[in-house]
Structure formats: C-alpha cells, structure tokens
C-alpha cells in the first residue's frame, strides 16, 4: 500500500515527534515541520510527502484532530491539536521509544 517512511527515522518515530510537538498547543503542518527543524538543530528535515501522510494516519487513529483556523500571516490554515487519546498514546509511545533507545545503545556499546 505504498506508505513511504522517512528514510532517516525509525518507523513510527515521526508520529511520536509530531505528537510531542503538538503538546505545546495547536499547530499547522508547516509549523510542525519548522518546529522539528529548529528544535533538532536542522537535523530533522521532514518533507511533506512524509509529514502529511503521517498526519492523516494520526487523524485516522483519532490521536489528533484538525480544524481550520487563521495563520500568523492571516491565511487559512489547518491546525492540528492533540486529543485525549493522543496524549495517552504519546506517554506510552515515549516510554516504548526510551526502552528502544536504551536497547540500541546497549547493543552498540557491547563489542
């Protein structure tokens, strides 16, 4: 079914990052991409071909909801915000991710 995963990220990580960046409040797609870019010191360059499918998946799961609003430069923009289910998902996925990182570290440190 052709779901492109961002080449630089582990599967599911993008969703986690999006959820995390929405904890600060509702944000539109471009804003989320910018946020990821600046916070990661320009390491995480998320293209729209992966960002928007990821957002659609989150919508489908019911973890975020989307509403049309007005952007900072007075344009119509679609704002995403966390739902209660999304918040719960974030904490559990965060825990899972940490475990994974620790595991990966262990593997890499052991020779």
């Amino acid at each position: 079914m052709g779901e492109p995963t961002p080449p630089d990220l582990l599967p599911g990580t993008l969703e986690l990052l999006i959820l995390k960046s929405l904890t600060a409040g509702p944000q539109h797609g471009y804003g989320i991409a910018q946020h990821l870019l600046t916070v990661s010191d320009e390491v995480l360059q998320v293209g729209e071909s992966s960002l928007y499918p990821a957002l659609q998946r989150l919508l489908l799961k019911g973890w975020v909801r989307a509403e049309w609003g007005v952007s900072e430069n007075n344009r119509r923009a679609r704002y995403y915000s966390l739902t209660a289910a999304g918040r719960k998902q974030l904490t559990s996925e965060r825990r899972e991710f940490d475990r994974l990182i620790v595991a990966i570290q262990k593997v890499l440190d052991t020779t």
Partner: protein, 881 residues
Amino acid sequence: MRELYRRLRYLFRYRGNDNDLAEELEFHREMKLRQLERTGLDPVSAAAAARRALGNAHGSRQYARDVWIAPWLQEVAQDVRFGIRLLARERAFAAAAILVLGFGIGINNMFFTVLHAHTMRGLPLPSAERLLHISSFDERITDRPVSFAEFQDLRTGARSFTGLAAFMASPLTVGDEGRAPDRFEGAYVSADAFTVLGIEPALGRSFVATDDHVGAAPAAILGSGVWHSRYGGNPAILGRSILINGSAATVIGVMASASGFPSTAEVWLPLSRAAVLQPPRRDARTLRVFGRLRDGVSIEDARAEMQSIFAGWSREYPESSRGSQPHVVSLNDRVLGRSARDPTWLAFMAFGCLALLISCANVANLMLARAVHRGREIAVRASLGATRLRVIRQLLVESAVIAGTGAVVGVGVSLASVRLFRTTIPPNVLPYWLDYRMNAPVLGALAAGAIASVLIFGLVPALYASKDNIAAVLKAGGRGIVSARGPRRWMTTFTAIEVGLSVLMLSYLVRDVQAPRSDVASDARIETEDVLTAAVTLPVETYRDGEQRQRFYNRFEERLQLLAGSRSFALATALPRRGGTEQRLDVEGQARGAGDAAPSVWTVGITSQYFETLALPLERGREFTSADGASNAHTVIVNRRFVDLFFAGDDPIGKRIRLTPATLTNAPASAWLTVIGVAPSIRQRTPRVPDPVVYVPFAPLAPATANLLLRPGADQAILTAALRDEIRALDPNLPIYRVLTMAQVIEEVEWNGRVASRLVRMIAMIAFAFALVGLYAVTAHAVAQRSQEIGIRMALGAQASHVGRMVFARALLQVALGLALGLAGTLVWDATFGSGFEPQFTSPGVLASIAALLAAGTVAACAVPARRAVTLDPVVVLRTE
C-alpha cells in the same frame, strides 16, 4: 470500529477532504517560499527551490490520501466505471443478459412464492403445527365429519389436547331493520374455537362458554369485510343487535382482515345456534373437529387415543358407529392437502427447479458467447502487463454490474408477476391462509444461483490471459479463440441442455392444453357460459318445514315465469361444478355381493327446464315436468356416466333404481325410482372424470337453498335488479346472493386447480422462450465468429443458400441433441411422477405438436443471424482483417 467509521466518513466526503489536503499543501508551499525569500533568494529561484524542497506535490497528496483509502478500492471504482461504459457500448448483449437474468430470477421467484403459499407456509396461526384435524372414515366413506354427540364425547374423553373445538361452515345472511340483507360465508363454531386456533378478535371479544348453549343470549362475531362493507368500519357496531338468518344477534367482536377461518368466512355464530344439531343424533355427522395438542403429546399419541375412543363407540353404538375409524392429521396438512410423497407436488417442485436451471444455463451461455469475443482484448491487456489477477478482477466487476442490475430487474419482475398472478384469481375465493408474500430466503437463494452463474462464467475470458496463450491469440487476430474449442463446446452443451429441458416442459404444456379436449366425449362442456345464476336461502328460523319452503318456491316460480317471459329458467339444489348430495345406489335386478359397499352417486334436484336452460339437450328420454314433482311420481334422470357405469351403456329408460342417504348409516331407502331420461355428463365436482349423477325432481326436496339458472337476454344488471325486486316482494328479509354467470361459477370453483395449470403453462412457455434466446445467442455468436470465413467462402463463390444452410445446420445439431435429451427426460419424468394426462406422451399428436413448436422456434431464433450471414459483404469483411 471507530477507525472504520472514520474511514467511511472520510470516503463519504471524499472530495471535501481532498480539497482540504490540496489547500493545506498549498499553504505549506507558500510558507516555505516566503521563508526562502526571507533568506534572500530572488522570487523565481525561491519558488523553484521551494518546489524542489517539497518534491512532487501531487505525489504527496496521493500518499496522504492513500492513508485513508486503499488504492485497490479506487481501482475497483475505475473498473466499475469501465465496465458500465463497456456494457453501454454492447447494449444488445447487456440488455439480453440483464433481461434473462431478471426474468429468470423474477418468474422463478413468483413460481416459488405461489408454490410456497399453496403448499408450504401453512396456517398463519401460532404453533399451527400443533393443531390437529379429526375426522372419521369407515369402509364406505372416506373423510366423514363428526356428529355433535361424538364431538361432546371427544371433548370430555380426550386427554391429548389443551382444547377441542368444532365448526360447521355455512353461508349466513346478515340483515338489519329496513336494509336489504347480504349473504356471506360463515361458520358455526364452538365457544373455544378461536382460543384453540389462537385467533384474537381485532375488536371486542371472542365467544365464551356462556355464549354457546341452547338458550344463551344470541351473540355473533363479524369479519372485517362485513364490518367495512355493511357498517362502514364503525367501532360502535359492538353491542349492536343485527339480524342473522332472520333472527336477532348481538355483535360481540370483529375479526382482523386475515382471519377468515375456516376459509373465507365473514360471520361466526356459536355452535349451539346451528339448528341441524337438534336433536343430537349420533349419526348426524356435520361437524369438523380440531384440537391443539397438549405440550409433550405427539400426534401418534393423539392418534392412539382416538383409536381407542372410536373403538369404544364401535362397541357401544354399533348401529351408528360400527367400523368407524378416526383420521387424525395436522390441520396444516389438511388445509394444504399436502404430503411429502405427493407426486404432483414433487413434480411441481421439480418443474420450478428445471426452469431455474434453464435460466442459469442461459445466462451462462450469454456470458460464454461474450467471453469468446473478448479473447483478443484480454490478450492485449495481458501483453501490456496486466496481471492475471487484475484481469480477473475487472471481469468480476463487469459481471457484478450485470448481476446487480439483473437482480434489481428480478425483484421488479417478481413483484409485478406476483401482483399480476393475484389479479387472475376471482374475488372472495382466496382463503385467509393464502398469502402470496415473497419469501426473502427463497428470493435470496434464486438470486444467488443466477448471480453465481454470471460471476463464474464471466471469468472464462480470464483463461486466455495465461501467458503462453497470448501470442497465439494475438497472432490469430480477432478469431484467436476459434482454436480454443472449450467454450464453444460448452455453449453447444448448454444450448442442448436448455432445449432438452424445454422439450420436457413443452411435452407437459402440450398435453395440458390437449387434455381437456380429449375429455369432451365424457364431459359435456357448458357452452352457454353467460347463463345467469343466483342463490337464495330460506332461513330455518322463518321457514320451519318443507311445506313452508315448498309454498315459497311455488310462488317464486310463478314470479320468475313472469320475469323470464319466453326465456327458460330452472331451479336446482346445486349448480354444475358445485357438488351435489352423495347417496348410495341400488339398481333393480343387480344384486350386490355380500359385504360389497353400495356405490356412491351424486344427486341434484332440478326443475323442469334445467337442461334446456343450460342448452344441453338430453341424450334420451325427456326432462321433468311439473307432474314429476308430485310426491308419488318417483322419476329420475341419470347422466351418461351413470349409464356407462351401471347399465354398461344399455338403454336405461324405464329401469328402476333406489337411493339411500350416504351420511346416515341406517337411513331408510327411498322407493324405487324410474329412469325417464339420460343427460350428458355434466361434471358436478372438479375431478376430470365426471361422477355418476342422478337428477331428481326439485319440488319434493324443498331445500333450504335454491340456485336459480336463467337464460340471458336482457342486460344482466337490469335482470339482477328485477330479480332482487321479485324476491323482496316475496320476503323482504331474503337476500339474493352469488349473482354470477355460469362462467364465473366455473372459474371460482376451478381457480385452485387452474392456478397449477396456469403456473405450469407460464413457466413452460418462458422456459421455451429462454431456450430460444439461448439458441439465438449461440447462433448469432457463431456467425460473428465465422464472418471472415463466410466472407472468404462467398468471395470464392458460395451461394447464399449454402451459407444459410451452414448457419442452420449448426443450430439444428443443437436442437436435435436437445430434442433427444428432452424425449429421454420426458420418459424418465413420466415413469417417476406419472404423467397424469390422458394423451400419452408418445401419441403422434403430442409429438407432432412438440416438433412443430421446436421447428418454428428454431427458425425464429436463427432467422436474424442467418440473414446477417447471408447479407455479409465479403469486401467489407475481408478488409477489416
């Protein structure tokens, strides 16, 4: 679950969502552009950079969209659109397939709907299978009713039932002060009859025990028909006093519209009001008894109990009950007259299945014919890289479009044909339990069968998508599949089977049509079907004895004489086809062997001009005169059948016979009666073979009900009005009812039997038409396939007649195969179910008719394709290569 819901909602407003996504991406691009500009790039290169950075906008949209809808689903939608376009182009094929499918489903469904209503659904009563019907029989009479005394014994003696009830059907007159009375079918029922049946009145209450004893306050229950036609559906009818058979009764309840127990009754009175039950004689058997089985009691238990009770009667009351046996069957079986081993019923079922098979074979054939056409297209698709699965899916979708449309047409055809069928039934004869309601599982099963054949045979073209075949198919050009014999052989087989099955059905049809004609010798057909008939009943409450009734009839005849003028008229105890009185016969000089039961004959009381009115002159002797009505005349007229049976065809005039009532076991025999005339065999009952009938003078009988027959002349409406006036002048409380022409009487009596014959005829004709459509499709297809070959032949000098012969030869081969198959099938069929027809299947007339029909059909089916073949222009055909 929630996810599915969100998916569906997305699909539902797909366009809106897609626009949202586009706008969102556009916003994203614009923001990016602005940012790049801010970093100092010139607008043009910034735009280019933004686009570069973002990649393919359309691709992004596609990816985002795919999250919601699987791409295959979109492709299916594409297939559906493609399929519809394709079918719109091949209009003739699509119409044929859809119509064949639609009529196949629809007509078969109508057939099974009617069959189901008549033989399977049963009574619309709660736990109807627990209701049993009890009658008796002895060595002389099958299916004898039960007397009131016996019923009372059963009610106190039998332990197997929660309740036992009795009824006696009887027409009843409903009247009111100052209004002309009406006549309705009715029944006397014991108080708990409706409780046992589980029928509740729609309004008011049912009978209770205190309504049903001699001297109780008279109560009556009305049916919804009377209630609406006579009392405008006014609920104030409850508690109102009306006149039933001339005496007052209080309406205590109104039944719902579909509660005409025992069949088409509209008025019910308590059993105690039936005058014939007094005094209660053990051998006055007039009641039908039924009961509801107690929980845990089986029908066998009930039978055993009845056996012992009847055996007790046999000992205790030998003069009235010797040899009397109980006959216990479920009320359903009794009403439906069904039995699992009944060959007619099985034959009917088999007939329906055959028709279904033909429709399926037909649809399969059409799909196959098309499949062969499409070989090349499929091969091209496959060579361009379509996977086999993709091809199969597309074919499936196309078939599904046909199947879906066909199913919709099928439902429409079923609805229309059931309604049409309903209109062929005369009014007021449909019993309450007959309900031509469609049966969802049956319709589902039929549709599933037909649709499955569409889907399966729709897949045949996919066979040619196999890789190693493609090259061969393409190389061979449009005729690629000619080399593949498979489908053609199948088509020939299917057509032969179709023709064979329809020959089997045609043999039934032909014999059904020819059968009545072959009866003419023994059965006089009533040609003067416009004879006007009417009935009048003298209520026992006001006409207590024969003398009073006789006086009424004398005055009635005088008045009729004035009304009829020169036209002939007659009174009779029963109209033709409407039964008679069963009596035991003794012939003078013919001693019965010891222990032989006296033969049964049917008697009908008639006045002097009876046969003249029916325009059926006597074969021998003379009609009755008024002198024969005198009580000491002792003269009778017998019918041809009677003469054949009891006088071996000899001249019976002057011979003497004696009659004994059949219902009374020890009734006195009549005096010797002299035969004065021989009438043609007019059937009094419905079986094809007429009964022996003895006509006796009407006057001494002075029956409670008389039927009037009047030769037509004036306008029927005027005549009816005049007749009503005459009767009102004699007695304002007498209704004249069942004012019908003789044709209507026969139609009413025979509709039930005609239902079967009508259905079978219809199905057989449709099956035949289907087989011809199949033949046409196959032939037309063959011509299309061979057009190049034909073109070459004609270019090389073949004559038109030769080409035509070629086309017909192939069709004839299939017809011949089918004919052989059908003839063999018919022989097997007759051996299995019994033909039930007088003309044998192998009689030359039947065979010739079938052959003629088939020949005509074949010519009709092949004419158009053959014409097309003959008129082919070789230049055009060869150039298209």
